[in-house]
Amino acid sequence: MSDDNNLFLLPLDRLTPDILWYVFAGAVLVFFIYSIFLVYHWFRYGMNVLTSLLATIIYLGVSGIILIITIISFASLLP
């Protein structure tokens, strides 16, 4: 095994809690802003309220599950 093989993996084991916070906060912020725009468009321009409602339930429901997994895994990473 040569050291060169490890080089491209180094960032993963050097992720400090600070960097993880930035990744977490950035992703959640982007997701929330994006979601607000999406849901706004579905209800503002959608031709069918029921479809928009169903899309919102599916989108936010699945997103909620993913967010919970993200938060739990993030919390366990913190010292």
Binding site: M1, N5, N6, L9, L10, L12, D13, L15, L20, V23, F24, A27, V30, F31, Y34, S35, F37, L38, H41, W42, Y45, G46, M47, T51, A55, Y59, V62, S63, I66, L67, I69, T70, S73, F74, S76, L77
Partner: protein, 174 residues
């Protein structure tokens, strides 16, 4: 929302065929799995020394990745959902959502239509029965395209029947 004129009624609301949504979102699914496939390949390489990672780190990164691509998938669906062609007895309205902050609504009145052409291209479109309806217009506008809709033959027939009706009973000139 479309505001109808007095006495106007909607005949057809058409949007792109579901296969086009599937095609447009296929890229997202492929991109989604790339890091997982890459990680699995790395794990199975005996000559590469993997760093010791916290056991929750892969789960954290995977969930962040999933969250962002899930939102991106719905952005593609939004584009599909909000792209609509509406055929009324007086006009064709093309609502084109070109991303979250770019929306175009164009209208073509029946009396301006000169010809309607149907185009079904490719094996998948032929089997699934979707295609384009090309509406030729008088004036500089040229062509108005209803893209990738289900049952284009039906839409073409409806438009032509309205065009014929308008030709026989032209709207009064005020």
């Amino acid at each position: 929302m479309l505001h109808l004129q007095e006495g106007e009624h909607i005949d057809i609301k058409a949007r792109k065929h579901w296969f086009l949504l599937f095609r447009d979102s296929a890229g997202i699914f492929i991109v989604y799995f790339i890091p997982f496939i890459g990680w699995n390949l790395l794990m199975n390489q005996p000559d590469i020394a993997l760093p010791t990672l916290h056991e929750s780190l892969p789960l954290f990164l995977a969930s962040v990745w999933t969250l962002l691509l899930w939102a991106k998938f719905f952005a593609i669906w939004t584009d599909y959902y909000l792209d609509v062609w509406i055929v009324t007895d007086r006009r064709i309205v093309n609502i084109d959502q070109k991303g979250l902050f770019h929306r175009e609504v164009s209208t073509l009145r029946m009396e301006r239509i000169q010809d309607v052409t149907l185009e079904i291209e490719g094996i998948i479109a032929t089997v699934l029965g979707f295609g384009d309806v090309l509406v030729q217009t008088a004036g500089e506008t040229g062509e108005f395209v209803i893209k990738g809709v289900n049952n284009p033959e039906h839409i073409k027939r409806k438009i032509l029947s309205h065009v014929d009706t308008h030709a026989q009973n032209p709207p009064p000139v005020l």
